[in-house]
Amino acid sequence: MNTLRPILLAEDNPNDIELILTAFQEARLANEVVVARDGVDALDYLFRRGKHANVAAQRPAVVLLDLKMPRIDGREVLRQVRADPQLKTLPVVVLTSSREESDLLRTYQLGCNAYVVKPVAFDDFISAVTQLGVFWALLNEPPPNPIPAAGS
């Protein structure tokens, strides 16, 4: 187990954010959870620009990505991440309400690593989030950093 990398949570709904963070607490996950409120925020963090320009950002262990967000939505974030040579291998788990087949298809085609539908029932929700956290933050071996190119 290496140094704990942060988990980037891209989610616009504060209630969902609270629930997820509570779940992580319950699961006793030690990783730092960075919250981005929408796609712009998330991309700024990942590309270390905008309001995150000065932060010495670390490559997250995993990105928990909601699909339906204002400004830039989850799909676009995924597309840009997969298009960037540095971030191409970044594990992205789509965590969303929709089980629409079109969403599934498109997000997998864009290259997400996993797709999890947020359960309505609280217990199931907690269980799902916990499992996610444990797997991606602890069990999974994240891809190594690629050799940095000039500029970013």
Binding site: N13, N15, E100, S102, K118, P119, V120, F125
Partner: protein, 620 residues
């Protein structure tokens, strides 16, 4: 419309071919008759000549005989007169004697001419003449002596015996000559007669031949004429037939010559264009076209006649024709070259297509309508998709929050909340979860209506086994008694049919869960007479009252309270919709407390082509 003949067709006129040979025959007949006439003429002329000959020679011969007889007379007279003179000394007798001598001389000269054609007779004459001259000499001497000296000297000088001898010989010669002439006469007559008879015979034969020829000609010509008459009759009949066809055709037909003049038009043409009978003939074709088309038509007309073939006129163009009163109507025109009245003409068949145009317009507008409907439906579909999408995302979130924070609250305030409070919170939580399930089911239901069918072979056996495995796997101490028969293969959308089985089997399991030994039977068979495959899922659970059977498959319709059996009432509606989209039927039978059998059928042939995703709802 079938195009007419492609080339100028030769009229098959049997009368024509007969005519030639008939003319030949008549010519031949007349030639033969002429020949016979010439022959007859020649024979008759020959006959006449022969007759003339006969007559002539007869005449000739008779004259000869006459002269011979004259000769004899004259000789006798010469003798007689000289004797008389001898006796009487009358000078009259000497005159008469001289006269007779001259007559006799003339007669002999004539005889010389007349016997020119007969050497024998000539030679006899040659014998006769000196004898005659001797007689004349003797009798002349006798006369002169009598005159001069007297009777006795005359008698003494001239020997009467010699005169007598001369007379006898001459008589004999003449007699021979006579006989020969008569014989010749007879002979010539006989041969001529024979010749005439021959010629007559030939004439008779010729006449018979001519008669035969005439009779033969009559027969032959007669036969030819009757053949010709038959041919003419046939032609007339075919003409009548043509006339009938032409006049009674339901389409207007006109014949147009190179100059664009209408030569002939049938009744329908008159009706169509508003002209009386016979009024169309002689008109220029252009009169039947609206003015604006005339220039172009003239050009086309010329090119058409240059290279005529059967075709539709102005293919692809909208053609109009003009009635006498100026009104117009749309037409279809078919052209075909035809040889008529010995010249090249064009046969034009004109059909009033007003009705067809109207029908076409109607079809066109119906099509537009359909397209409009289609696009409306597509829009509706798209809206529905957007709606579902929105529902997926937006409706679930608040539910999640309700349940989530209820849960957190329960945890957080566990010590503070009394039993009632905790029960209240549980109710809230359950309600939220139930709503979540409803939303899921509704979404699934909507999806079954919208999704495209992917038809393919479906192995129901494997689907059913997988479902059962999931159920029993998740519930190891399930006591369910499964009776699964071998299920026939069907054709349909495997994913959607899986949902059907999931729902039906799920229901069977759910509603028999209260039984001590739940038993579920799954079977299927092919019904060839109805051309469908039928499946049954039977359970021995709570069953239902048939009175409410028609409600079973309705959306959100349930026959049991939520407290008895959980559920959303969408499952069977889903089943019905999916099966209906495959063209099948769904139905159920049950008895309260004795279980239920749910059945569905799928047609044997492929999925109906008229499958319209958003159209099929209830029914069947």
């Amino acid at each position: 419309m079938v195009p007419a003949s492609d080339t100028f067709s030769e009229p098959t006129n049997p009368a024509r071919s007969l005519k030639f040979s008939l003319e030949n025959k008549i010519a031949a007949g007349f030639a033969a008759a002429l020949l016979l006439l010439v022959l007859f003429g020649a024979l008759a002329w020959k006959n006449a000549r022969q007759f003339e000959d006969v007559l002539d020679s007869g005449y000739h011969r008779h004259e000869l005989l006459y002269q011979l007889e004259g000769c004899v007379n004259h000789l006798v007279q010469i003798l007689t007169e000289s004797q008389r003179y001898l006796l009487t000394g009358n000078e009259d007798s000497v005159e008469r004697w001289a006269e007779q001598t001259r007559f006799a001389e003339r007669a002999m000269q004539r005889l010389r001419q007349l016997t020119a054609d007969n050497a024998a007779q000539q030679s006899r004459l040659v014998q006769l003449e000196p004898l005659f001259h001797r007689l004349v000499e003797l009798t002349g001497r006798q006369n002169s002596i009598r005159r001069t000296t007297g009777l006795e000297d005359a008698i003494a000088e001239i020997d009467p015996a010699e005169i007598g001898r001369l007379m006898d010989v001459m008589g004999e010669i003449i007699g021979r000559m006579e006989r020969t002439e008569r014989a010749l006469l007879r002979e010539r007559g006989a041969t001529s007669l024979q010749a005439i008879r021959n010629t007559t015979a030939w004439i008779a034969v010729g006449s018979l031949a001519a008669l035969a020829l005439v009779a033969g000609a009559y027969l032959v010509v007669g036969r030819d004429f009757s053949a010709r008459r038959d041919a003419e009759q046939a032609l007339r009949r075919s003409e009548q037939m043509f006339q009938r066809l032409f006049e009674n055709s339901p389409d207007a037909i006109i014949l147009v010559d190179r100059g664009g003049r209408i030569r002939r038009a049938n009744r329908r043409a008159g009706e169509l264009f508003g002209y009386g009978e016979q009024q169309l003939a002689g008109l220029q074709l252009q009169r039947l076209l609206p003015e604006r088309f005339r220039a172009r038509h003239a050009a086309h007309f010329a090119t058409y006649f240059a290279a005529p073939r059967a075709r539709e006129m102005g293919a692809g163009l909208e053609l109009f024709a003009r009635c006498q009163d100026g009104s117009e109507f749309p037409v279809d025109i078919l052209l075909s070259p035809i040889e008529a009245e010995g010249e090249r003409q064009t046969l034009a068949v004109i059909r009033d297509i007003t009705e067809r145009r109207q029908a076409e317009k109607k079809i066109h507008s119906l099509n537009l309508n359909l397209q409009l409907q289609n696009s409306r439906l597509e829009n509706a579909n798209k809206e529905l998709e957007a709606f579902s999408y929105s529902v997926s995302h937006d409706l679930r979130a608040p539910l999640r929050h309700i349940d989530g924070f209820t849960g957190l609250l329960t945890k957080h305030a566990a010590g503070v909340l009394d039993e009632k409070a905790q029960r209240y919170l549980k109710v809230i939580s359950d309600a939220a979860v139930q709503m979540g399930r409803l939303i899921d089911d509704l979404l699934a239901f909507s999806r079954t209506g919208r999704a495209q069918l992917n038809p393919g072979p479906v192995d129901s056996n494997s689907i059913v086994s997988a479902i059962i495995a999931e159920i029993t796997g998740g519930n190891p101490d399930s006591r369910i008694d499964w009776k699964i028969s071998s299920l026939p293969l069907v054709r349909g959308d495997a994913a959607l049919l899986r949902q059907v089985w999931v729902n039906l089997i799920g229901n069977a399991v759910k509603y028999s869960s209260r039984e001590p030994t739940p038993r579920i039977e799954i079977s299927g068979h092919v019904d060839t007479s109805a051309s469908e495959t039928v499946f049954h899922v039977r359970d021995n659970g709570v069953g239902f009252d048939m009175q409410y059977a028609d409600k079973l498959f309705g959306v959100f319709q349930r026959l049991h309270a939520d407290t008895e059996f959980e559920g959303t009432g969408v499952g069977l509606a889903n089943v019905r919709r999916i099966v209906a989209r495959h063209g099948g039927r769904t139905w159920a039978e049950g008895r309260p407390g004795e279980g239920a059998t749910f059945s569905f059928s799928l047609p044997l042939n492929a999925i109906p082509a008229t499958d319209n995703p958003s159209a099929s709802t209830s029914n069947s």
